[in-house]
């Protein structure tokens, strides 16, 4: 990041940018900056990919035994085999 001051101003808005919720003017300013700043482009691309990787992560299934113990604790054992 050569243009340090400018890049730092933009850092705070990166989250909104990758979520597609950045306000129009800021978004334009950011995109204009990205055209001339290779490092920021890498940061934006890898940030977006990071968020995507986590969002796509497979859901951890809840073990059946954990489910059984939960129902037991709540005195709902009779609902165990429903659903």
């Amino acid at each position: 990041m050569k243009n340090k001051g400018h890049c730092e101003d933009l850092l705070a808005s990166l989250s909104d940018y990758v979520d597609g919720t950045l306000d129009g003017q800021l978004c334009e300013a950011l995109e204009q900056h990205l055209q001339s700043c290779h490092n920021c482009t890498v940061v934006v691309n890898t940030l977006r990919r990071t968020v995507e990787l986590y969002q796509q992560e497979e859901l951890d299934a809840m073990p059946e035994a954990v489910h059984q113990r939960l129902l037991h604790r709540l005195h709902l054992d009779d609902f165990l085999h429903e659903g």
Binding site: L11, L14, D16, T46, E57, L76, F79, E82
Partner: protein, 202 residues
């Protein structure tokens, strides 16, 4: 058990069948939330049980000002953060004296490696998944809870703010800090993988 919308009236009146339906709908997301915040299976189970025990007691007084999901996630997040505090009392001090994390400002990116071109298989490997979990577990509780609610549970910024009882601006600041820290950790990891891949090719 059917997926029809839950009846708040029945839940407040202590209807067991309706409560069992609520447990069926929300136990998996609550367990996952606990697991991601505490990074420990036993703690996640404790969070799960305590959340529904507390919900059962509190339901008669639940006014429905927030959605049932938001309300349950709030109980679960508080439980999970309490577990972390009990385990690491020193974390409490940092968190309660204004959150050192926020005073640092937004972290300046150090790792400038474009790893987006790595093969998909590399990014979906179990080793990568373990690294992602390690990176997330390395976030402070304040950053981790925002990241888990927003990016893993898929809540909006507004819902996340509601669950945590903080302003939306606080959620946004913590979110960008959390995401940049995770990007940093994954960039270091993938950077090494890229070197390895190109060394193997030579």
């Amino acid at each position: 058990m059917n997926d029809a919308p839950l009846s708040l009236e029945a839940l407040r009146a202590g209807d067991r069948t309706e409560f069992a339906r609520m447990v069926a709908q929300y136990s998996a997301p609550v367990y996952r939330l606990g697991l991601k915040i505490t990074a420990d299976e036993q703690d996640a189970e404790d969070v799960l049980q305590e959340t529904f025990v507390k919900a059962m007691k509190a339901l008669p007084g639940f006014e429905g000002r927030s959605s049932l999901a938001t309300w349950l996630f709030r109980i679960a997040t508080n439980e999970a953060l309490m577990v972390l505090r009990r385990k690491k009392p020193q974390v409490t001090l940092v968190e309660e004296t204004g959150d050192a994390d926020e005073e640092e400002g937004v972290p300046h990116p150090q790792q400038i490696v474009d790893w987006c071109c790595l093969p998909e298989a590399e990014m979906l490997s179990s080793e990568t998944k373990a690294e992602m979990d390690r990176a997330a577990a390395g976030l402070s509780p304040a950053l981790r809870s925002v990241f888990v609610l927003r990016d893993l549970q898929g809540l909006s910024v507004r819902e996340t703010a509601e669950v945590l009882g903080v302003a939306e601006a606080v959620v946004k600041t913590r979110l960008v800090r959390a995401r940049l820290k995770l990007r940093e950790a994954l960039s270091a990891y993938f950077g090494e993988r890229m070197q390895k891949v190109s060394a193997d090719e030579e």
